[in-house]
């Protein structure tokens, strides 16, 4: 019966929910709940203190309201901040002990956790509501000294690393949602690549919100030590629900001398129905610090889901000669809204940044590219190139570009290019005359428009992302 239902959910095929008993913290946001979370995760005192400090700070912070998409006021006391499958009170030691329903859920999502069915050599960490349920390929990675586990596990097993880097890129005091995350974050991934190691496989985290009335506050921390390389990918889905759900994650990346981090996101949270009811509020803080010289951080994002997407994956280019990149495809359809872009903060000498943003809006949706390029007085001989392209479908959607550009020294260069276009009737007719139906035609044209960004994704995900681009725009022509 459930499978039949899934078949029917053509619009959003991940919209099913898993019938699993969950164990929740009491509703509401207060010191007790934070202590509850910290306690259940058996955290050391320094981390609880850190959370409480964030909570203190949160009390004086105001929710930002400068973004273009407006949303009804969120009642933070009416949310659950911790939800875990009941069978997780004592975490299973191996996949064999995992609730079969959970395994089934990930199987349905196309994420096999069973290592025998290896996913093209990709190590996966799966996060279900508030907890990490499984991490694959641990042994293979451990041999090279790579740490890839849930952040809860890292707190227990590698406290010195967590303590050293947590909150160094996104400080406790940063802004409302980031600080909220610091107070109540539940789980997420932790990655450490030792000096000189090139991570032999893609690392991937798969986030799934299942329980209702639950916010997901995951925290991801990735450290690439000197001369190392890692490519990391996250994917996200959620069941279809009538109410809006909050997802406020923090992601911190740190690249030391000569290290490179490539971070890709395929975000497909439930976008709400055709009339804009329900869907995820995706309010995420992602920031990378190019701490060492010659380091590089590259963000690639394909944002197709969520009712509202509000995020600016950023790079702080502190090390001399460091490089920051941002490749983005954002698609909004029906009543979806997105306010997204990046910040490139140039602090070191000879730093370079590149921004390629492709926004596609259809239906009644609204899309804003907002980006900051800030070249400080000491960041001499630096440069930025920005390309912002918008594609509109139909005449009821909107596209806006809001670039903030600050160049504080005279020998650095900034270039900004922007275009806005529409898919023409003639292009559609041409493709249809060649045998493509209107949806295939739009998919082809849009994929062409996004090509520069799609090329940045790891191969397996590029194919998935291409399909997703097509699916997201279904029903937008005709």
């Amino acid at each position: 019966m459930r499978d039949k239902q899934i078949e029917d959910l053509k619009d959003y095929k991940y919209g099913f929910s898993t019938d699993i008993e969950s164990f929740k913290a009491p509703k509401g946001l207060n010191e007790e709940v934070i202590k509850f979370i910290s306690n259940i995760k058996k955290e050391p005192k320094w981390l609880l203190d850190w959370r409480l400090k964030a909570f203190e700070r949160l009390k004086v912070l105001k929710e930002p309201d400068w973004q273009k998409p407006k949303y009804p006021k969120i009642d933070y006391q009416d949310l659950y901040y911790y939800s875990a499958p009941k069978s997780f009170k004592d975490k299973p030691k191996s996949l064999d002990e995992l609730d079969p329903k959970l395994l089934e859920t990930y199987q349905k999502l196309g994420i096999p956790l069973n290592e025998q069915k290896r996913l093209n050599g990709i190590a996966v960490d799966a996060v279900f509501d508030s907890v990490s349920v499984a991490t694959t390929f641990k042994e293979t990675l451990t041999k090279q000294g790579i740490i890839f586990c849930s952040i809860s596990e890292a707190v227990q097993k590698h406290p010195e690393l967590v303590k050293k880097y947590l909150g160094t890129v996104i400080p406790l005091t940063d802004h409302f949602f980031a600080t909220l995350n610091s107070a109540v974050f539940t789980d997420g991934s932790f990655v450490y690549i030792p000096p000189g190691v090139r991570c032999p496989m893609e690392l991937s985290t798969y986030f799934r919100i299942n329980a209702s009335d639950t916010g997901q506050f995951e925290r991801t921390l990735i450290i690439a030590d000197k001369g190392s390389y890692v490519s990391y990918l996250e994917g996200c889905t959620a069941p279809m629900r009538d109410e809006n759900q909050l997802h406020a994650a923090n992601v911190e990346l740190i690249a030391l001398d000569d290290a490179e981090i490539k971070y890709s996101t395929v975000q497909n949270w439930y976008p709400g129905d055709k009339d804009g009811k329900g869907g995820i509020y995706n309010f995420v803080t992602k920031r990378g610090l190019c701490k060492g010289k010659n380091s590089k951080i590259s963000w690639t994002q394909v944002e197709t889901g969520s009712a509202i997407t509000w995020k600016y994956p950023s790079c702080i280019l502190k090390g001399d000669n460091s490089i920051g990149e941002f490749y983005s495809i954002a698609i909004t359809n029906n009543h979806q809204k997105a306010d997204t872009g990046t910040k490139m903060i140039h602090l070191g000498k000879n730093t370079k940044s590149k921004i390629i943003s492709k926004g596609i809006s259809a239906g009644f949706s609204d899309m804003t590219y907002r980006g900051l390029v800030d070249i400080s007085p000491k960041a001499t001989n630096s440069n930025n190139f920005t390309q912002c392209d918008s594609l509109l479908m139909g005449n009821k959607c909107g596209a806006h570009t809001v670039p903030y550009i600050k160049n504080k020294n005279s020998d650095s260069n900034i270039a900004h290019e922007a275009t806005t276009s529409k898919i023409s009737e003639e292009q559609l007719h041409y493709c249809q005359q060649r045998g493509l139906n209107p949806e295939e035609a739009v998919g082809l044209i849009v994929n062409g428009f996004c090509k520069e960004v799609l090329q940045q994704l790891p191969m397996e995900f590029a194919v998935e992302a291409q399909k997703l681009v097509g699916i997201s725009l279904e029903g937008s022509v005709g």
């Binding site: 023409s424 009737e425 003639e426 292009q427 007719h429 041409y430 493709c431 249809q432 005359q433 060649r434 045998g435 493509l436 139906n437 209107p438 295939e440 082809l444 044209i445 994929n447 062409g448 428009f449 996004c450 090509k451 520069e452």
Partner: protein, 244 residues
């Protein structure tokens, strides 16, 4: 194969085609000649399924009512239009476009789709026959192509899709003599017992290389005279005004 009866077409209340009749049998090559504004492009637009026209009358393709079919379904049934102004699609590789098109048609017909290797073999072979620069196949569809290259690309697509009825909408306009010959070679290579052509043109020049079976003169939305290849020569001599 194609039977058009009493076709009339209007766009924004302006009458373009009136009481238009034409029958094309398998294997025949028909040329339609006419001055600017006589309705030539409207005819190809309507046959290919372009929206925006107010159409009356009947068009049967292999005894199926053409107007009951979507544009892509007409393509699946074997109708091909070589566009007068081929469209640019940025970011889409020419090879990818061709393969997507061929496989969409094959899939609709329940035939086996070609994999990448089979496709490349086919496309290379056809490109060579048409002297189409292979390097262009790796470029974005029609982006930065010259006028002649765009038209040759249409003919390349035609020869790969191997349609039953090919409509060439002023494919010869703007071509130099070498490109014209290539286009003609492409058509002649496809000319078989069952493949038919409808060639829309201003000039007799193309018809020196593609011998039509029938020539029709289109004026003010109506065919005013039909004949054999000699009619094209007569037109060239007398001009459209004096043909009656």
């Amino acid at each position: 194969m194609l039977k058009i009866s009493n076709l009339s077409a209007k766009i924004e209340n302006k009458s373009i085609l009136q009481d238009f009749k034409l029958e094309i049998n398998p294997g025949e090559v028909h040329a339609i000649m006419g001055p600017n504004g006589s309705g030539k492009s409207t005819l190809s637009n309507i046959l290919s399924g372009k929206k925006g026209y107010d159409v009356k009358g009947e068009v049967l393709f292999e005894n199926i009512d053409l107007f009951s079919l979507e544009t892509e379904e007409r393509a699946h049934k074997g109708i091909f239009l070589a566009f007068q102004y081929p469209l640019e699609i940025p970011g889409v590789n020419t090879n990818v476009f061709l393969k997507t098109s061929l496989n969409a048609i094959k899939k609709a017909r329940g035939e086996k789709e070609l994999d990448a290797i089979q496709f490349l073999k086919l496309v290379k072979e056809k490109a060579k026959e048409l002297k189409f620069d292979e390097e262009k196949l790796g470029r974005q569809l029609n982006v930065g192509f010259s006028g002649g290259e765009k038209k040759k690309n249409e003919i390349l697509q035609m020869s790969i899709l191997n349609p039953k009825l090919s409509i060439l909408d002023e494919t010869d306009s703007g071509l130099d003599i070498d490109a014209l010959k290539t286009v003609a070679d492409g058509v002649n290579a496809l000319r078989k017992k069952n493949n038919s052509f409808l060639i829309i043109t201003h000039y007799q020049r193309l018809l020196e290389y593609i011998k039509p079976d029938f020539v029709h003169v289109l004026m003010n939305g109506k065919i005013i005279k039909s004949g054999g290849p000699e009619l094209a020569l007569e037109l060239e001599k007398k001009g459209y005004e004096n043909i009656n």
